[in-house]
Symmetry: C2
Subunit: 166 residues, 2 copies
């Protein structure tokens, strides 16, 4: 039963060819808190300017800033819920030019946008999808930009899967 | 008192010029668990093959795999504790060519290595440090590679800071 359910929901996911090439998609916003900055960095990037508020006052940014990996995770959360989960994603493959453009601080509200740049065949039943993504803060200033290559199932594979299930 | 302590510990951090250019540094290992994969991805990358074990059986990898952002965070944790925390880091700037080479699964033991490729002056009192990093699994196979550009304080800035404190 569970297997059938999973296969059904899989065939309901959109194929690579249905990605909106050239359209900028608003993936929504995320509020950054001090607890979140410290909790994330304590686990994954324990440098003083991410985890120690008193010491961070003497850093170049004059206070706590979010880890770049945390900022990247915020983009991924918004991109996954806003776009990727609707599609038949196989896996992420590569991230290019991941730029940390401005410090991210507690209280910032980050909004993600995603633009599908290209969808190209990449072997049987799959495509390489390249997106450009960015996060802007509440002042409209960019804090992160990146390009991501992912592999998605193409329509051919989905037709093959439907035929098999008859 | 706290300010004095923070300033003292700052001047004890190593400068950019003290980074071991050309030497591969072993940054230790991290054990990946299923709970960690699901917990990380539930927050930051909620796609079915990262968070839903039953559905993931029907994915291309036949089971749960870690989010690429999670794998990147594991590298960052090992690099921060093994190298970055000893140095006077200003901030990360850019990540190039972040490649997810193989799936990461529960039970994998990932070992990070870091190679400082170059240390170049980048404005007054700071240097741009470029590192190549990688994670290998318990079978010695690479699962992640990346290049990171970070800004670090240079010796000039540290001398200036010492002079000021007299």
């Amino acid at each position: 039963m569970n297997g059938t359910h999973a296969e059904t929901s899989k065939t309901m996911r959109l194929s690579a060819e249905q990605m909106p090439v050239g359209v900028e998609v608003d993936c929504g916003s995320h509020v950054v808190t001090e607890d979140q900055i410290v909790e994330f960095a304590s686990l994954w990037d324990p440098q003083y300017f991410h985890v120690d508020q008193e010491a961070a006052v003497h850093s170049d940014f004059g206070g706590l800033i979010a880890s770049g990996v945390h900022t990247t995770a915020i983009f991924q959360r918004l991109a996954a819920t806003g776009v990727y989960r609707k599609y038949d994603v196989i896996a992420g493959k590569e991230i290019h030019n991941l730029r940390f453009l401005r410090p991210v601080r507690a209280g910032d509200v980050l909004t993600a946008t995603l633009l599908v740049q290209s969808v190209e065949p990449d072997g049987p039943g799959r495509c390489l999808v390249t997106i450009h993504g960015s996060l802007h803060n509440q002042h409209g200033r960019p804090v992160l930009e990146l390009e991501v290559d992912s592999l998605l199932r193409s329509e051919t594979a989905i037709r093959r899967s439907s035929a098999t299930s008859r």
